[in-house]
């Protein structure tokens, strides 16, 4: 019965069965699987630290021409380091010394991230020190400048300087 509908039907059925067996054989290579969920959370992390505990600036007046009132001393031996994973953050700076006898200024030199604010004359009010940090990790050099006038006499100012990460 060449070409009979029965033969065609039988052929199709056998083809279907063959595909089924082939599919079984192919899938038999996989013996099993299992899954579970793993969750990763990252907390809001804000780290900031200075590389050294203390800085001393001694104003001696050495090298200052006679007749000049202002004398200065500069220190660039310390760094500020930070790590922040929140957006829109900045660093401010302030001192605890309410009435300093002399002037102390600080500037962020060569920040690896963000933009240094203009040099800050330290006061008990927090002033912008580093801006546009984004989510970043980085460092900058702390440039401290002590300024004394001859007319201010002698003495010692002891500052506790605080750097703070805050919302910009």
């Amino acid at each position: 019965m060449p070409g009979s509908p029965y033969k065609k039907a039988l052929t199709l059925a056998l083809l279907t069965l063959s595909l089924s067996v082939f599919w079984q054989a192919a899938s038999a290579q996989v013996y099993g699987s299992d899954f579970h969920t793993v969750t990763v959370t990252v907390a809001t992390i804000t780290d900031i630290q200075v590389s050294s505990g203390s800085v001393n600036l001694t104003i001696t007046g050495a090298g200052v021409p006679a007749g000049q009132d202002q004398m200065t001393a500069v220190d660039q031996t310390t760094n500020l380091l930070w790590g922040v994973n929140s957006a829109n953050r900045k660093v401010t700076v302030n001192t605890n010394l309410v009435a300093p006898q002399f002037t102390l200024k600080v500037l962020a030199l060569n920040p690896t991230q963000g933009t240094a604010a203009p040099e800050v004359t330290l006061s008990t009010t927090a002033n912008d020190f580093l801006l546009n940090m984004g989510r970043s990790t980085g460092t900058c050099t702390l440039k401290f400048t002590g300024i004394a006038m001859a007319s201010e006499g002698t003495g010692t100012d002891s500052h506790t300087i605080t750097f703070t990460v805050s919302t910009q």
Partner: protein, 168 residues
Amino acid sequence: MYDGEPFKPRVALHHLKRYILIGVLLVAAAGVLPTVEAQEISTLGGNPTLNITTGTAGSEPIPVVNTSVTLSYNKQKAVSKITVQTSCIGQRFTLKVLATGVSGGVAAPEVTLINGMPATDFIRDIATTGPKNRSATLQYTASATFSQGNSADLGNDVHTVTYTILAQ
């Protein structure tokens, strides 16, 4: 002349449908059978959460390691291997997994789990001899950079990690 003739194709079609139906049922049965077999691989220990909570100023957040989940699997009739893959829509952070304490087979190098990744070798050369039940510890390591942000702003990474044992 036409008595009965028009009905032959109908009969053939009727049988064809029957054979196709049988074929489909066989294929369906083949698809169901593996699911009712004994479980050849399973994760024991639940769904871990890795919390990154601390960092280092000037560096990066500190990675977190979790080893609370065990992978249990059986030897097979042929030398086999285990692969791993993950699905994590909107993945932001890094998650790696390594098989430690492997009692059957050889651990592959640590795998970085990336959303949509192809199945990647995790344990290879699981022999056909020796004890039937084997196991390994799943050592997950989560890490993030400060620039990748935090979960409060961006959400958690939830991975569906799938382990599959198959002929090698």
